[in-house]
Symmetry: D2
Subunit: 291 residues, 4 copies
Amino acid sequence: MGIALGDNRYGKAEVRLVRVDRDGERHDLTDLTVSVALAGDLDAVHLSGDNAHVLPTDSQKNTVYAFAADGVGEIEDFGLRLARHFVDSQPAIRRARVELAQHGWRRIELPGGPAPHSFVRTGDGTRTATVGYDGTGAEVVSGLTDLTVCNSTGSEFWGFARDRYTTLPETTDRILATAVDARWRHAGTAGTDWAESHAAVRRLLLAAFAETYSYSLQQTLYAMGERVLAGRGELAEIRLALPNKHHFAVDLAPFGLPGADGVYHAADRPYGLIEGTVARDDLPPAIGLAW
Amino acid sequence: MGIALGDNRYGKAEVRLVRVDRDGERHDLTDLTVSVALAGDLDAVHLSGDNAHVLPTDSQKNTVYAFAADGVGEIEDFGLRLARHFVDSQPAIRRARVELAQHGWRRIELPGGPAPHSFVRTGDGTRTATVGYDGTGAEVVSGLTDLTVCNSTGSEFWGFARDRYTTLPETTDRILATAVDARWRHAGTAGTDWAESHAAVRRLLLAAFAETYSYSLQQTLYAMGERVLAGRGELAEIRLALPNKHHFAVDLAPFGLPGADGVYHAADRPYGLIEGTVARDDLPPAIGLAW
Amino acid sequence: MGIALGDNRYGKAEVRLVRVDRDGERHDLTDLTVSVALAGDLDAVHLSGDNAHVLPTDSQKNTVYAFAADGVGEIEDFGLRLARHFVDSQPAIRRARVELAQHGWRRIELPGGPAPHSFVRTGDGTRTATVGYDGTGAEVVSGLTDLTVCNSTGSEFWGFARDRYTTLPETTDRILATAVDARWRHAGTAGTDWAESHAAVRRLLLAAFAETYSYSLQQTLYAMGERVLAGRGELAEIRLALPNKHHFAVDLAPFGLPGADGVYHAADRPYGLIEGTVARDDLPPAIGLAW
Amino acid sequence: MGIALGDNRYGKAEVRLVRVDRDGERHDLTDLTVSVALAGDLDAVHLSGDNAHVLPTDSQKNTVYAFAADGVGEIEDFGLRLARHFVDSQPAIRRARVELAQHGWRRIELPGGPAPHSFVRTGDGTRTATVGYDGTGAEVVSGLTDLTVCNSTGSEFWGFARDRYTTLPETTDRILATAVDARWRHAGTAGTDWAESHAAVRRLLLAAFAETYSYSLQQTLYAMGERVLAGRGELAEIRLALPNKHHFAVDLAPFGLPGADGVYHAADRPYGLIEGTVARDDLPPAIGLAW
């Protein structure tokens, strides 16, 4: 009977790394969660438990810490260094994938100016990167997650398809809120100012969300993706997943407040989920190392 | 400039459905979380906000509830009914994907026997299913998640690759613990007793985990997958994701307890993550509707 | 100006301890999360940073592990050993409070019987204990949490107070579901078979929930507490916190299913929260060391 | 036998309320989670299921929404309005406690200035308030939670008590990180500018954390509390709970990097937990309605 091993990978997940860079009294803080996944010639370990080709996930964790010894820099670069190291130094390993999330911190503001080595966590979006490398090519996907945004007007929803299960009334004014989960693939891996590129994409996403008069969350999604690609020539593709965080207007009439409005119930579940890709059609598609 | 819409889908996520079936005093409880994702001819809504092809996610939610009116049955069947309905009834929709999780309940045991309509939540593994349909073919993936298991011995780890970052000592006796996340694809969608099949796969996974003397978690993963496919002819493929939930033996010697052992620190992060597929090689691969 | 230090305590929280007891091939597993909080003569450390009275929280963690070297036993006993140790061995410490949660495991069932050293996590309620000691007296509170239960009938709610904001219809048949969070104080700390007592309380709670025909969740709460105290003479008091996990019947009439029922939406938030104490009135009240 | 009902309360928890205030194009957003708990003459409902004294938790939820119809204002005021309403309008209710959390949003910045009705969630600390009222007196506790801060130097820990379980080395330079959970009681409820007071306390907490050269987290806690009370005459008491979020320096010597430093592992569990109160000693203590 033909039973065989298929695709597989292994690695260390969620290594929590904090790096402090000191310049006298003034420090900088880098706070990352790093996950490594390796694939390659790993049949023996699955079929017989022979670990000769298995670099322990503990060693992968150590490598993440050791590579931080001389600085982390931008997460895309740090991921590339790690991915290349694993494939280029381990004969059995053919592909590496490194996922990184950078947790934001900013300096505490004191009356005399920003504190030199005291920080407060920000919570308005986590910067992410995923890097893939197969010994020949590398692929970099940057991203952000947990960026929750809301338009309190400028959103309609009507003219939709109806069936026997449709009870939703049409609306010409609703709250549109979502938690942006966006990832964008760079056309290449050389010459990009990752920090500048990321900050620009973030600004474009926020601006497109705020400035798009919306007839559906899909329209807003496409507008956000198109704005990013139109503005950033270094990018090939962007994927967005936008949960529609429903806000239901509370009917206040039963409480003797017939004309009142402006009060909403923010629901947890269920939620809409809108997912889509916007891509340049004149570029080669992804190799698939970093998605 | 060539910027275009790529893959996209939309739907309602995490509809919380509880169904009570009554047979006199004796009730049965079905507790599901259902997510729907639809794809098809949806360019217009992205490009211009024209919703004519968009069945509201609210209607999708209503459909989940309405279809439960005459009973839910097995989640694979319920998912197939829903997926087929959306594609077959909505001209613009070409593909539907329905994800279902069934939360376990069992009857409360009373001195006089099982209670007729009182239940307690179980927590030893959630049954899942994902169903895909494209108007022609359907694909069913069953699964389970959150099944945490532990072997307190019978696990070694040595003979692994070493590099300059390797400090892990070899061991011939360790705790092996993981939270099983498994999904298996059925070769077909007709004629399967889904409940019997699921119960059997669960038993096979647990038995293979318990009975495999392990030199690596990869070996255990393959043994689990092989055991399932060898025992269940209706299945084509199984994918497993096994976090290695590390338990570190506490060195008690510094506390004046030099010979003592049996005490472990259960770590949260980082953790190993072992992912792999075991498949029949004499069957056509997945269409990809339900993964 | 009169600014002064008030109540304070410190300790190590959420020590994750797993203990394996070996009897040949057959093992037993104990899986705990332990938190320690100490109070006493700690003014100096707050006012000037003088740590002379501060046993490090790292030492507290080590103590938890070291005390497990010769076995854990019942969590109430383990907590008492720890609490007494800290107060009796540290001159500056006057009070200790130890919180313990025991995560459930049971043996994996194999065709030949229960596996000797392979286990699966249960998820139907976590056993807890909190122990307080002040150098003279000790107090033990046992408990359980995360025990989710549901009556699919046998619950009414009507005849309630109404005001201008009341829109809730009365009902003579509803689902009653809650996640039991219960803690009960033992009248003494000696001579109790903690395991037997805990198992009995759990059975009484489940039976009272199932067997009480309910006109309000408050009534069910009191019935559960009374049943426990009436059945267990070793207990002085029980406190229950019962979230009312609302299940709303879905109106299926708009979908052309006018007579259909049995379909519910399980809501996340908001939820009712019913909290109450049932106590013997012929016993001294709690010293307050373990609540 | 003497079994009796003790302390009890009930209410609706986690009502999710969003209020939009419109001034032409320019909107303001208020996003709250509100929980209500009521106590009073509630014996009958516990003992016999008689609901005549029970205002449904559904009505409490409606009240929260209805009271938002004419604006929310500061959460302390909104809580006071609600607490007074329940006690003053329901004859059976003697005490009300309202907990409020305000989720932060700020305007999206566009090239032309702040967006008029587009917002992004902030994540650097949630403002909270708890209000108690018993028909005579009211008590207000303001607070903040989830404010994570870090000093990358300026923290030592040595000279601590040692026992046989102590292995922790002394240090004269460590990372000090915590997630501030602070609540402070106002001496009165009239005449306070709640928003100004809250912003000032937040600044004082951050400044004291950043500016205190620390020999222990207890010292930092007291410094934070003292700074707040010294600076804000309207406050009577402050309670702080500070988890010590341990950052362990990674020893890089085994990787051939003997002099390297600045790399830390951020641990999840266990963590230290430091809790303390700082209070004016020339003021009456809390009635206990709002803690």
